[in-house]
Symmetry: C2
Subunit: 491 residues, 2 copies
Amino acid sequence: MEAITSLCKRRGFIFQSSEIYGGCNGFFDYGPLGSQMKKNIKDAWWKDMVESRDDMVGLDSSIIMHPSVWKASGHVEGFSDPMVDCKASKMRYRADQLFFAPVIVEGELIGYISVLESEKKAAEALALAESLKRKLAKQGRLETPILTPYTEAKAEEYDLIPSPATQKPGSLTAPRSFNLMFQTQIGAMADASTLSYLRPETAQGIFINFKNVLDSTRQKIPFGIAQIGKAFRNEITPRNFIFRSREFEQMEIEYFIPNDESWKQWHQEWVDTRLNWLASIGLDTAKVHLQAHEGKDLAHYARACTDILFEFPFGLQELEGIAARGNFDLTQHSTHSGKPLEYFDEESKQRYIPQVIEPSIGVDRLFLALLCSAYKEDIIDGEKRSLLQLHPRIAPIQLAVLPLVKNKEAIVEKANAVYQMLKKHWRTFYDASGAIGRRYRRMDEIGTPFCITIDFETLENNTLTLRHRDSTQQERLPIEGLSGYLRDLLA
Amino acid sequence: MEAITSLCKRRGFIFQSSEIYGGCNGFFDYGPLGSQMKKNIKDAWWKDMVESRDDMVGLDSSIIMHPSVWKASGHVEGFSDPMVDCKASKMRYRADQLFFAPVIVEGELIGYISVLESEKKAAEALALAESLKRKLAKQGRLETPILTPYTEAKAEEYDLIPSPATQKPGSLTAPRSFNLMFQTQIGAMADASTLSYLRPETAQGIFINFKNVLDSTRQKIPFGIAQIGKAFRNEITPRNFIFRSREFEQMEIEYFIPNDESWKQWHQEWVDTRLNWLASIGLDTAKVHLQAHEGKDLAHYARACTDILFEFPFGLQELEGIAARGNFDLTQHSTHSGKPLEYFDEESKQRYIPQVIEPSIGVDRLFLALLCSAYKEDIIDGEKRSLLQLHPRIAPIQLAVLPLVKNKEAIVEKANAVYQMLKKHWRTFYDASGAIGRRYRRMDEIGTPFCITIDFETLENNTLTLRHRDSTQQERLPIEGLSGYLRDLLA
């Protein structure tokens, strides 16, 4: 993970937001290579999910909406995390990520310890328990501490559990519910203004436009509405680089289907479609796992939900969720707005509120998963190399044109001509400075699939060298016909 | 204008945000055709300004940043509009859009009238003055009322000027300054959280990343950093459809140049570059005017600013601004952050803070200007037609494939094969329902440049009809070679 974050900063993929002002926790900026790669991901999704499909239309709804949207969706009431404050240190924790345990020596409760969520939390808890035992000069067998989330602490325990910041008890508050939506005011000044929210998901913008889309297109069920856009969640503890940030981008589809049992097939079909798509743009499928939620695991509105998980360096985490949401959302918005959000089936002459399948993925998570899939280290010619095996659709730069030397005018001229020709069709970079080997490495490191070198032989027979990033193999090709050859390679 | 807004809603270009909840003033959603067209505009800008240029890199910075950014930029202090409240009606106005005049009859001041900014304000003022004269039963010559903005009213006049809502004096407040930035809180709950802002422009995200970009690329001055993204301004009175909304999208470039007098040439070069680009994607240049700001018209940090104005149906308004900002912004951020934001010129061995040229355009404004440029009405075969003469790069749909009849299997099959072939390369729509003339009209109305019709003759000789939107001319072409022919037409 460290190798990847360091590469991201060094080569201009991702910077911490407002870095010169000490940073802004949970916010990130995409640099020259990162902004291009992020655009490539979004463009690939839009092309394959929207433009190429007859049963899908796009939407681009606003981030700030009428506050009633979030009352109807349940977010005002229920979109919250439990948090706990340490009054001594002013630190704040997610209560479900703070764990405590009684420390028991020879059957006697001698105190409590607390630790934060991590892979090492059991070991940390044991060390703290041992330390407490020593401090209190207790003799005898220490029981292995059994960790419980702070959310399950009893009221009388709040004062006994030490804060992870101070390791002293008495400063932790009871868990409180904290709504994760960012708030803002629309309109001038407090009295005449309206409390509103930055959307915590793009999906609701789709539901409230269902009728508008029906009326302005001639789509028939089954069909979907797709949207890419920013969403905001005021996470108590943003973490894991761009995986859980406070400002992020989503690519969401609401796929409307009949209100019957066919949702099971549609759900399965979308799980398959999305898995295939992720593999097609270079996600390492060996690191992908499916998790089907059932029963009490499910949100109350969901009939089924399958998560596509990915083995990130920090653990197995959700990359995409594919939920069968029934017709909960349209029903809610219909009730709250008083506007019927029904579909009229001309064949069966039936009017009904459709069910929906929701494949929802975070752009930033996918960006990170693709980087993790692509990042490799190997040894070439006895030298360590780090490279990104990015798919050509996703790579920020697709081709690099390199004149072998920069002090031979005919070579530079030729290289420039080839560069001008190629950049019309592909994201092409021209690099003339440094030893050719170093230039190859620079391109490997940012995932450029192919380097094209113009050398002395080019001047003789109009051929060039095409170097493949992954194998480092080089092939000699005539300039004539190069575009056609590349078109196949880069497809 | 009404024809355009009605078309936008009917055909799914633009909807009012949160319409089913009564709307959300100043916010808009882009529908199926609008979201595609907006994407096309952004993609064209990104391709031509970023991907195709060796001296430009992209960036995608966060909407929420460290609040110090906006202190340094001057927005916390100065980004505000004067507003005035009517205490009786609870209405709120921009003080510079509210005008008042003394009413004078035979040299005697008999009272005041007030009107809101509009093209008819002089006529309205006269009518109100005449009405007041009648009401007070005054005889003699009424002087033509001379309108003054409320911002210039004297303190003793506040109580005498009537509210436009009630036409009674005594309810208007003094003008107050209202900051246009949306505020929000980062982090949980009031005490531990940080007051922050939704960015009112994307530009500052570029300046604060200047050093990061320098360090992670090998760009040399002159070079630019370009960004597309959402920005937010809590306008007191949003108006003119998507022209002045509270949530909008910008495409901004900061082009860094030496700190000398060369800025004049660079400024001119960017004015030319941007004008050419706007013309290249179909903006009606007959409706474009340049306005050079000088002297006291200029913002304090600007050395020059040329606005590209467009004749919208509601008047001549700014579409793009091209400002020579000196090195104000980098200097400010350097001072406030304590981090040097300098450039080291390896040739001259000089270290300096570069100046900048800033071409900045609103995506939504450009969207509207392109619609206004494209919207035409004509008479074809004795029938009124409305069409959008959109450039093929911008049109949401580039090609429509239409089987002449839908009950002849061979025709439908052939049409489908052509459709599948074309949609790989272009945004292609398949439409089989309705009379062929009606289908053409539907495509004309949404700006589809070409319709391809498969008919009985196709089955005989493998030719099809290509219909041109603007001329309605049709040509007969062999299917063989169609792609190459279209490639030229759609370039």
